[in-house]
Structure formats: structure tokens, C-alpha cells
Amino acid sequence: MTNKKTFYFYLLTAFLIAFSCSDSTNSDDNIVDNFDRQSILENVTDNIILPAFEDFNPKIAQLKESVTQFSNAKSIANLETVQSNWVEAYKSWQHLEMFNIAKAEEVYFIKKMNTYPASVSRIENNINTGSYDLDTNNNNWAAQGFPALDYLLFGLGDTNLDTLVFYQNNENSAYLNYLQSLVSQMLQVTDLVHQDWVLTRDIFVSSSENSATSSLNMLTNDFIYYFEKGLRTNKFGIPAGVFSGNNTRAANVEAYYNSSMSKVLSLEAIDAVQKFFKGQGYNSSTTGESLSSYLDYMMENNSLSSEILTKFIDSQQLINNLDDNFASQISSNNTLMVDVFNKLQEGVVLLKTDMLSILSISVDYIDADGD
């Protein structure tokens, strides 16, 4: 017993040293470089989120400006300027939708900007009554943002000329008013969220701990949530009918009234996902610290980061093979849409099981004891 006792005495001592001594690494020749989690936050915030807002915010302002111009001079040229501004802003938006954090979450930024399919009855009702609350009424999420603009810019006439004629008709001035309300609301909420990012950048970046409310955990969870719901389910799953017993729902594609845009928007989205995962800047080809490099740090001999990236690239290729117009794609050959869904689902598996496992990032809404 004495030997054991001595052994345990040493073990105990070792324990106590282990938990009290902070600089024991100095004595270790084989120092493992510690990974700086904060640098992920810095890279994502400074090189992705803020530049994306700097690109997006002026585009929304431009969109609003062009709507004003159009209401002053209802010409085909002015209408088409509004439309192309809508396209540019919508593309840029795809890089922001995954960041449902802080102010964005608080003011339902994502819901207000991109809840689709748009509710035509709600929009028409708002226009007819002329009284509506876009800010606090959840029921109006589907009556504002890009999808509502989609309807107002592309859904009121078969051709742009028809649309122009519609707006030129003074009986329809309420439509124009509503269009203006929508872009004002979009600009206002975008300003709000953008400003908050600028102001809270330092606080956000410094919260790199591993807790349910830390920036790193929220960012990771929101990324996965976006990939699964925003990208896989909304853009492909629901329209392709995988949740509705093979009954396809072409009207649920993103940008339904201008559905030749659906592929472009999805390609932007998968590009945004890849850039976030690799830590590649919004405007640049250089990459910084990211979930990918963090994974490589946690498991040196593991190919997980490249497997995940491969899923993204494979998905991108499958999307490339689709018709520009997803609504036509669904009616001509829906299998290709389902293929994209399945490929993205493979990505969901790797993100939700493998990546979360290895990063030991707790899923933010789960709070219970373990053993």
C-alpha cells in the first residue's frame, strides 16, 4: 500500500500543480502552437461582414434612390434601373443572410429582408388599406423586403412595359407608395444593423470564449442554421417538394416573379458559404483564420475541412448545371433540384455532426446537464 500511497501522493501533487500552475508550458520543449480563436472573429468581421455591409448598404440606398426617381419620372428606363438595382442588392444580400446575430436578430433583419414566398394577399391588402406596420408586425414579414419587391417589380405585368403601364395608371398610385415604403424600410433596417456592427465590432471580436452566448459559438451555429434552413431547405428543399410528398412548389423559389434570377442568387449563396468557411475576404482572394483552419488545428490528421469544402464545391457544380430559372427547372426536371438538396444535406451532416463534435461547440439553444 505504501507504494500506492506514494504514487497517489505524486498524482495528487501533479493534479494540484496542473490546476494551479499557469506557465508550465515553458518547461515543455514540444510546445503546441495555440490557436487564436479571436483571429477567426477578427477575420470574419473585418474581412467579410463589414465589407459585405459596405457593399450592401449603398446598394440598398441606390435602390431607394432609383425608386424615388421612378416615381418622379415613370419611364421604362427608370423602371429597369430599379429592377437592376434590386438584382444587385439581392445578390449582395446573399452574403449577409447567414449573420443572424445581435442587432440583426433583435430587429428580425433576415425575416424582414427575405421571407419568401411573398404573400401577395398580404401585400395587396396593405396596399388597399394603406395602413400597415412593417416594423413590428410579424405577419408583414412576407409582405416586405426583396420578395415583396420581386412581386411589385416583376409580378404586376407580363412585360416591363405592362408593369410600366400599371404604375403610370394613377389609380395604382398606392402601389407606388407601397414600393417606396418598402425600400425606405429596407434602408432603415439595413442602416440600423450596419451601424450596430460598426459600433460593436470590438465587443463582438473580443467575445471568443466557448459559451452559448459567445460570438464564436453564435457565429458557428448561425452559419450551420443558415446552411441547413436558408440554403438547403428554402432555396432547394421546399420548392423541389422534398418536404411535401413530391408535390413540387415552384412558387416557393427565391425571386419567383423574376425567377431567371434564382440560380444567380443560389450561386452567390454557396459562394458566401464557402468564403465564410475558408475565411476568404468578401472582396479579396486572400484567406484568414476560419472554421476551416480551426478544424485543422483541433484534429491535425483529419481531412474534415477539405471534405466539407468538397461538399460545397460539388453543390456549386450541381447548381451550375441547373436552369437559370429554378421554376422552369422544377417543371422540366425536378430530380436535378433534389440532387442539389441531397448534396447540401451531405454538407449539413458534416457541419452538424463532425464539425460541431470536433470543435466542441455547444449548440446554443441546448441547456442541460451532461455526465
Binding site: 500500500m1 500511497k5 481531412s303 449548440v363
Partner: protein
């Protein structure tokens, strides 16, 4: 030999350790219930979910709607009555039944330490923990100085079993040769002050903790048993459990284990604790003089022979139950057949993703299920990597959609699981119609085998 055994079971000893154990156990349980309640878990774990995962044969145990709060109230009150030793037998019976009922309501929340509490409270039904220092003793005006020695030993033995098996199950290649899953968990504790960015990131530290944990669990019962090593062992117990408390979200478990191991100390230590408790009580102006007055009135507490038999049989079962996993083929960590109730603690970092497909087997048309519509996030997380829960949920979904008028319902699952840092692989045979499978104690052949071997227990 026969005499020896008879002598052992006749041996009497001071009852103080049982009184201390009862007091601390009752108080900790009361705190646990209050903590559970105050965190809002009664609602989020038992009232919010529309579906519960049942233990085999216990599907009649369900939450009671808002009355679930009443159940927790009963459990908390009975814990308090156990602590003060008032109508002890009824109190511990009510505690055991209410606590165990709570645990049986949903398999999702299974934790080894909840099981431990059910096990210990069951044993306490048959132990004279109210012999002294209890309201019962005051009321019957009799306090027993001595109780049979085996009553205290039985608690030491169950604690020993818990630790020793927890150690045995750590003897596997993932734990010892790869320091998994500790390596992942420790590295992710980078936000701890001082040690987080330094020692927690070191490979050797993960190995040290893995091996240290294994040796600790295997030897701590013996070190606590021998007087010479006992004090060191107890310091080790405190250090170990506080360390686990810092590193992992394990709630009350560390405190429960630390206070339980006090049972290993001699009765004079326990008498000191009781005297100290008296001081606290008088400081709090609680009239407690009576607690010690009748100490010498009557000596031996007679424990029924049937109680002894039950405890012996129960402990015997406890020795064998953890081995039942050997009856199943395949990788235990992967299949989890015989994994629960075996003191396998913190051995796995396992995550899954399970997507259910409802198929009309005639037309082959199908749709995927959105799990959010049926399960809470906690339930989804647990279900996704446990075969019995996947099967139970599959049946639930099948019956649900049948009742909604769907025809020829077949249920398939596309399930992927990653275990201890391995890349995820398909978990359940995707061609197995879950509606045609039945839950039983038989081998679940529809689990796809793990493409790797974990050696050891």
C-alpha cells in the same frame, strides 16, 4: 467460514455515518430539485415536448402536464424530510418513487448520476438511516447508537462499484491510446483563465487526464477503504470532482460524489460532523437539543432479515448489470446496446444527424420530416445518435402520419453519426423500414457496423 459470514452480518457499529449520509443526501437532493426547477428545466424538458422517449416497458410513465411541477414538489419535500429524518421510511419511499418516475418520463435526459440517485435511494429504503440524529428518533424517544455494520458497508460497496466500473470502462483504445474524447473537450476549454490557452491545449495533458482519470476511478474505492490512505484519497476525490466541475457541465454530480464518499470515514469523523451540525442548528436558533439526548437509550437497531437479503441481491445485480453489453455483438460505443446503467461516464463525443423519410410503399412517393415539428432541440440531439431512440421516434412518426390519412406508410432514416473524432459514417441501414422493426433486447442488426475497432471494455 460460515461463522465468519454470520459474524460479519452480526457485527454492530456506530450509526453516525448513516445519519450523516442521510442528512447530506437529503439536502443535496433538495438543492438539486430547486436548481432543476429554477433553471426552467421542468418546463423545457418535460412539459414543452409533445413526445417523450420511453424506456422499454415503461411507456406508461409520462409527464403529468402542469402537475409535473407537483411531482417535483413532492420529490423536493420528501428529500427534505429524508434529510431531517421525519417519517423516514415513507419519505425515502416517496423520494425514490417520485425521483425514479421523473427519470423514467423521458429517456432523453438519462444521466448516470440520476441513475445513481435512484440506486442509492432504493438501497436507503432498507437501511436504518434514521437510527439516530433524526426527528423520528425524537418522536419515538429512542435513538439507536449501533446499527449493523453491513448497512454502512453496502453504501461503501455501491460507491466502490460506481467508481471501479467507471475506471474499468475507461480501459479502451479511444480513451487511453488516443486521449479521446478528452482531447477535444479539453482543447475547447480555451476560455478558462490561465490554463485555457496553455495547458488545456497540450497533447500530453489530455493523455495525463485520460490515464489519471482511469487510475483514479479504479483505485479510489480501495484508497478510501484503507485508513492509511483515506485522507489523501479524500483530498483526491475533492480535487478530481472540482476539476470535473470546472471543465464539464455536470451539474450537481461532483458534489454528490464528494459528499457521498464521506461515508468511508470512521464514525468519530461522522460524530464530529453531527456535533458541528448541532452547532449550526443552534446558531440558526433551531431547537435541536433533543437530537442528541436519547443517544444511549437503546443500543442495537434490528434490521429485518428481508432487508439484508434485498440489499445483497441488489448489490449482486449491480455487479453484473454493467457486463450485459458483452452479450451483444458489434461495437458498444457505436451500437449502445447495454451502454446505459453501466457507469460509462464521459466516454464518448458522439453527434448525429438523422433525417426521416416517410414513404408511401405503393407509389414510392416520399417526403422528409422536419424534426423541429416534433422534437425539442435537446431531444433531437440525443435521438440522432441512439438507435433505440431513432426506432421509437420512427414508429411515432409512422403512426402520426398514418393517423393523418397517409397510406402504406414506411419510415426510413438517413442517419450519420460521428464518434470520438472519427469522420461521420452512415449509422442506420437506410433501407430498413423502421415500422417493420420492433424494440427488444435482441441485437439491432439494422445498425450499420462502425468502420473501426475500439479495443477494450
Amino acid at each position: 467460514m460460515k461463522n465468519g459470514i454470520a459474524n460479519y452480518f452480526n457485527k454492530q457499529t456506530n450509526a453516525a455515518p448513516l445519519a450523516v449520509f442521510r442528512l447530506l443526501f437529503g439536502l443535496l437532493m433538495l438543492i438539486s430539485i430547486i436548481r432543476f426547477w429554477s433553471k426552467g428545466w421542468i418546463h423545457s424538458l418535460y412539459i414543452e415536448p409533445s413526445f417523450q422517449f420511453s424506456y422499454y416497458g415503461f411507456d406508461w410513465v409520462k409527464p403529468l402536464g402542469v402537475y409535473t411541477y407537483f411531482l417535483f414538489l413532492i420529490c423536493g419535500v420528501s428529500a427534505f424530510l429524508v434529510a431531517i429524518g421525519y417519517k423516514y421510511r415513507i419519505s425515502i419511499l416517496v423520494f425514490f418513487l417520485s425521483f425514479t418516475y421523473i427519470e423514467l418520463m423521458d429517456k432523453t435526459t438519462y444521466l448516470n448520476h440520476y441513475y445513481f440517485i435512484s440506486v442509492v435511494s432504493f438501497m436507503m429504503l432498507f437501511l436504518p438511516c434514521n437510527a439516530q440524529f433524526s426527528v423520528d428518533a425524537i418522536n419515538r424517544k429512542q435513538s439507536y447508537k449501533l446499527v449493523p455494520n453491513w448497512t454502512i458497508d453496502s453504501l461503501k460497496l455501491i460507491l466502490g462499484i460506481v467508481y471501479f466500473y467507471a475506471g474499468l470502462t475507461k480501459i479502451n483504445s479511444d480513451w487511453l491510446l488516443n486521449a479521446m474524447p478528452l482531447k477535444l473537450w479539453l482543447k475547447s476549454k480555451y476560455d478558462l483563465p490561465l490554463i485555457g490557452q496553455t495547458i488545456m491545449q497540450q497533447e500530453w495533458f489530455s493523455f495525463f487526464m485520460s490515464w489519471g482519470g482511469m487510475f483514479y476511478d479504479l483505485s479510489i474505492p480501495f484508497l478510501l477503504l484503507f485508513r492509511k490512505t483515506r485522507s489523501y484519497a479524500f483530498i483526491l476525490v475533492v480535487a478530481f470532482h472540482i476539476a470535473t466541475r470546472i471543465l464539464f457541465p455536470i451539474g450537481m454530480f461532483p458534489y454528490i460524489m464528494i459528499l457521498s464518499t464521506i461515508i468511508f470515514f470512521d464514525s468519530d469523523v461522522h460524530q464530529k460532523i453531527l456535533r458541528f451540525t448541532l452547532k449550526i442548528l443552534s446558531f440558526l436558533k433551531i431547537k435541536s437539543e433533543k437530537l442528541c439526548i436519547p443517544l444511549l437509550q437503546k443500543n442495537n437497531y434490528k434490521v429485518r432479515y428481508s432487508s439484508l437479503i434485498i440489499i445483497v441481491v441488489f448489490l449482486f445485480l449491480q455487479v453484473f448489470i454493467p457486463w450485459r453489453s458483452l452479450l451483444y455483438p458489434g461495437e458498444l460505443f457505436w451500437n449502445e446496446q447495454g451502454y446505459r446503467f453501466s457507469w460509462r461516464v464521459m466516454l464518448m463525443e458522439k453527434k448525429g444527424s438523422s433525417v426521416f423519410k416517410i414513404v408511401n410503399s405503393k407509389t414510392n412517393s416520399f417526403f422528409y420530416v422536419n424534426n423541429d415539428d416534433f422534437l425539442t432541440p435537446v431531444q433531437q440531439k440525443q435521438m440522432s445518435f441512439q438507435p433505440d431512440m431513432i426506432l421509437e421516434y420512427g414508429h411515432y412518426l409512422g403512426n402520426h402520419f398514418k393517423s393523418q390519412g397517409h397510406q402504406n406508410v414506411a419510415v426510413f432514416v438517413e442517419s450519420y453519426v460521428s464518434l470520438n473524432g472519427r469522420l461521420s459514417q452512415q449509422f442506420i441501414d437506410p433501407s430498413a423500414n423502421l415500422m417493420e422493426l420492433k424494440e427488444s433486447f435482441k441485437h439491432k442488426y439494422w445498425i450499420k457496423p462502425l468502420n473501426d475497432e475500439i479495443k477494450g471494455f
